[in-house]
Amino acid sequence: MEKLKASNISVCFDGVSIIEDISIHLNEGEIVSLLGVSGSGKTTLFNVLSGLNVPNSGRVLLDGEDVTGKSGKMSYMLQKDLLLPHYTVLDNVALPLIVKGEKKKTAREKAAEHFRFFGLEGTEKKYPHQLSGGMRQRAAFLRTYLASEGVALLDEPFSALDTITKTAVHQWYLDIMKEIKLSSLIVTHDIDEAILLSDRIYILSGKPGRISDEISIDLPKPRNNSLLMTDEFLTLKRKIVEKISFAG
């Protein structure tokens, strides 16, 4: 079933075309990556999908409903964790529930239930600045999950982390995603990350940004980091690198 569908999205700023006629879709429970070099309009597309920007043309459908230019429908996560420094980790994670009108107490209880599973136990009463980068991204992801109604948009969620932390967070993410149902669209420029995490990859090339290719990743699941060394993985990676350099 198609959860999210964007059709013929075009955006231009001051007469300069940023993205052109982009159509993508995200099926229920699917993890799809949007892979592109910087300047290919990834973030612009992301802002259109999340409803923060209105496209010059095209429509965004969520569960068949037109949500073009409507924010508050999809949860998103950025490279910056955006944890509020003045709230504890628990209150940060519970924030979407509180904003949606739940009582503080019930919101906290609901949020606290997930801490163990998301590997965040013991951080409830800490403040964000007391956590490591990896833990902060975990908390931000849990908040995104609680904010979502089935779809999450992740804009380079792990790209600010150092390589070692990133590897650990990837494994953590794969483990989490086995258990929860969250259709996710990940914007990234990291080819390894895209292959490792996704069911499908769109290749975005610019400028203006267009979808130049779509690749299914049929590697068996559950996956883990050892996949990065296998022949299948490297074959796929070579194929993608060729497509990107050809498109770019």
Binding site: S71, G72, L78, L84, H86, T88, K100, H129, A147
Partner: protein, 254 residues
């Protein structure tokens, strides 16, 4: 070891400089380098302070009351103005220049006017304190509101939050630190504002005491009350720092 040493030095340095200053004062006055009727010795000042202690305290109570009410009203006013100016951009553009102009008018010049309008009661004094204290708080609050991270605002918006939720979760808590730096300035202004307004009319308060001892050429008492006023300002600033620490648990070290 070095760190401990540094922290001790940083605590000792201001104490030493104060002691040196007091020493110079003592030397100049006791050594009759400056005649004692012009510059009383610190010993005389302390003696005057002890002798007049109960009188000083009753005047202090009045001045503090004026400063407190003025600061309270000033803070409330600043809050309302800052929220409205942040919310409505046309108000920001319209009111900001007026706010700046009010601050260019010297306090000492409007104090007599206020006395003429409101009489010798507490009202003109509190009004003057309000006028001197609301500005730093308004500006610091506005700065705090306006420096909110647009990405954080979008995040709350993406959760379906409107302007109130954005204010409640992002702007207001984000402005707490700036608010306290404004309040710190205003707290010291409030005492000085109250004292100045008392100079110009009234029956009680440290300002009234000051004018009385001035007329009597009691330099020792003058110095005693000046030092008392600055001690009160310091104490208030310390109180604000304490409040800030309570209001911002996330800034405290573990």
């Amino acid at each position: 070891m070095t760190k401990k040493y540094q922290s001790i030095t940083s605590k000792i340095a201001p104490a030493v400089s104060l002691l040196v200053l007091a020493g110079v004062w003592l030397f100049v006055s006791e050594g009759e380098i400056v005649p004692s009727y012009m510059l009383p010795s610190p010993v005389d000042v302390v003696r005057a302070f002890v002798a007049d202690f109960s009188v000083l305290m009753s005047h202090t109570a009045v001045t503090l009351q004026e400063a407190f009410y003025g600061l309270l009203i000033g803070t409330a006013l600043a809050f309302v103005i800052a929220v409205l100016m942040d919310r409505f951009d046309f108000l920001y553009k319209a009111v900001y220049p007026i706010l700046v102009i009010t601050q260019t008018i010297p306090t000492i010049a409007i104090a007599p006017l206020l006395v003429l309008w409101m009489g010798f009661s507490m009202a003109p004094k509190i009004t003057l304190v309000v006028l001197t204290t609301f500005f730093p708080i308004t500006i610091s609050l506005l700065d705090g509101f306006r420096s909110a991270d647009p990405d954080s605002i979008n995040l709350v918006r993406s959760m379906g939050g409107g302007n109130f939720k954005i204010f409640r979760h992002i702007k207001l808590p984000g402005a707490v630190e700036q608010f306290f730096s404004g309040l710190k300035v205003s707290a010291s202004y409030s005492v000085v504002g109250a004292v100045i307004s008392e100079w110009l009319g009234g029956f009680e308060g440290l300002g009234v005491y000051m004018t009385r001892v001035k007329k009597a050429y009691a330099f020792d008492k003058m110095f005693a009350v000046i030092i008392l006023v600055s001690l009160i300002s310091l104490a208030l600033m310390g109180l604000v720092a304490l409040l800030k620490n309570i209001a911002m648990p996330y800034k405290r070290k573990k």
